[in-house]
Assembly symmetry: C2
Homo-oligomer: 453 residues x 2
Amino acid sequence: MKNTIAYIEKNKERFLSELFGLLRIPSISAESDRKPDMRRCAEELARLLREAGADRADVMPTTGNPVVYAEKIVAPELPTVLVYAHYDVMPVEPLEEWHTPPFEPQVRDGRIYGRGADDDKGQGFMHVKAFEAMAASGELPCNVKFMLEGEEEIGSAALSLWCRENRDLLKADVILVSDTGMIGWDTPSITCGLRGIAYMQVEVSGPSHDLHSGLYGGAVANPVNELCRMIARLTDADGRVAVPHFYDKVRVYSEAERSELRAAPFDPEAYKRSIGVPDTAGEAGYVTPERTGIRPALDVNGIWGGHTGEGTKTIIPARAFAKISMRLVPDQDYREIARLFEEYFRSVASPGVRVSVEFLHGGAPYVSPTDLKAYRAAAKAVERTFGKKPLPFYSGGSIPVISTFEEVLGVKSILLGFGLGSDAIHAPNENYPLENFYRGIETIAWFYHYFSE
Amino acid sequence: MKNTIAYIEKNKERFLSELFGLLRIPSISAESDRKPDMRRCAEELARLLREAGADRADVMPTTGNPVVYAEKIVAPELPTVLVYAHYDVMPVEPLEEWHTPPFEPQVRDGRIYGRGADDDKGQGFMHVKAFEAMAASGELPCNVKFMLEGEEEIGSAALSLWCRENRDLLKADVILVSDTGMIGWDTPSITCGLRGIAYMQVEVSGPSHDLHSGLYGGAVANPVNELCRMIARLTDADGRVAVPHFYDKVRVYSEAERSELRAAPFDPEAYKRSIGVPDTAGEAGYVTPERTGIRPALDVNGIWGGHTGEGTKTIIPARAFAKISMRLVPDQDYREIARLFEEYFRSVASPGVRVSVEFLHGGAPYVSPTDLKAYRAAAKAVERTFGKKPLPFYSGGSIPVISTFEEVLGVKSILLGFGLGSDAIHAPNENYPLENFYRGIETIAWFYHYFSE
């Protein structure tokens, strides 16, 4: 591994400048007018993969944004690692809260700032560079395949189909993914659980046009008041989701398992400070790491209706909307949850309004057992570069496609992520520490090494 | 009156084309960049008043948009009518729902379409033309003063101050206002009651920045969910406002008074059809005309927070906002109601969020007794032009400045309005029937006639 480590050290600056090139492309999958940027980003990645030593690197069409597929087959009898990452990023609004423009990356105070710096261009690109370092040094001990998609932030629908159609191409012993975080520098961790998601959009409508709230106020159901009342009924006073049968399939953890979870270092005061909340809140009977790790949740992600501009407009709005998502845990099924949600949401509407419910996307929860060979290789790699045994960690996030991989390809994924809570992913001023970028490249290289032992 | 009526008939087309000139000016008081349009509209009105025969017509400065003051003193010993109207209009969003541009007036199917066609350029301009017709015909039997303001839709704060400073100038026997509606062509009515208003804006904030809803969902209070829960608690299952002491000063009507109110023709099915609602809704124990006429109400006029664009963004929004107004009835005090609202709203917040409450504007409710000489003159004028005795009507709307006039000038107002429920005021495709415009001009002339008998 000496040559690989030396190669990484020697090429650090070029690695960073190549990443900056990717970060400059505004590949926002949620915005339909970004198609040319999505394509440009995919092509640039294919070019970088070829340069890094791939035997082939192709921009492959899907029903949505293209997938970049690349591979280097060292020898058919060697184990094969399939790397998954995504090159699409989240929208950047509210733009006025960014200190520097989201698509003009720069390093400040040891951090790379820009949309995608962590999620997932920064983390994804570490894999391209770890692969390059090992291939260039003649130390690559296994076959490597890459599958880089452009729709993770909008539900990976096209990739799911594409995987089904390319099962043979994607044959692998393990899938390696860096799209998660660690507890912290002092407490390295490997994510062994992800929550699923069911993302809904609802509309509550009443009058055919906005009404004068003086002439009609008190005589008709106001769609915004109604929407608020209906949303209020989605959760109860104990912080639980009030949709009937929502918890029927939620896995119950033993007292021993919960003790282990609660043993991970967690400082509630530091947690509150880091996100600026006056207090934590959530399901009664559970502590914060349990609330995000092993329990489901329901959040309104956006709401709008009526006059939202300057001044006072005295109307009863004709319509009100909300985007509402539920984070799911094993063994909840997002299709069933979406159905239960719609049924209940309709049932709490008053006769004065009409309701429509749309299912926007879904993903299943995922668990990675800690006794897999690949998990143990990842743990050894992290211990090597961070100097500490990593803790298994239940993340609250969702990477819906991970459970799809298991279902379609029959392969488990290892979630070897290097993000930190301070990276502000999905938010203004997303950033990624330079140190994590470089140490991540090394850790990935060590993973290949231990996995192929 | 023969000459007056003939004059109106002869000049109809010019009257309409002059009104179109006013409707073309986008005098939206809620938008701060419209100041030049406000001034232009005021100057145009002053010019039209001079042409109509006023001895003086001045654009007078206030702390806000200017007031147009005009007068014609026929003889000091004659009674004096002070006409009030407003030249500002509501915002026009959502623009895409207008069938023709809001500031390009046109007549279709016997209706004038455009922002302000009814509220209150159309109705206000009838007074300028009724005055012109009587003055030009030598049949004006009283003194007339005009006070036309540019901030009615945002609370009339500057006019209130201006009235206090111009008490002598504004001496009058009655104030005449056309800024309300009638029940219908077949059921002419005169508004004898208006609701007051307290308009608030609230903000609920949690984390210092938008959080990833996967990583944090279930562990912190979501400001949008919280705002919805708090709004839901503002009203109860009986459709009553849940703010403690909200009803303490609400005037209780006798069974006889309520019977009279319920005697006015009202067709619930036609009402529902005209505004497109599946059902009416409101306070238990009251029928629709009571709910809007003599009972208070609470409506969310706008709500916003989080991701409101295309696609799915998985965030816990840092902040959520709502504009909430309450319609008040005698003898509620808007200052006290605003205070009670704020107290209660803060009290229902959870420890996980911060709350801010802002009072945007307020106005007192108003009652005009039906035994006033001026009311009887208005009733005779309406009977003359509509062929039927008008019903006294309690409108749900608010014209906060009307109660200010009573308080500051000690003069009662007569609300001689000609709008119809189908005029879509404050909404897209505002319109005003041509027939109402012309018959209104005649009715106002008859009012002068009977009032001076």
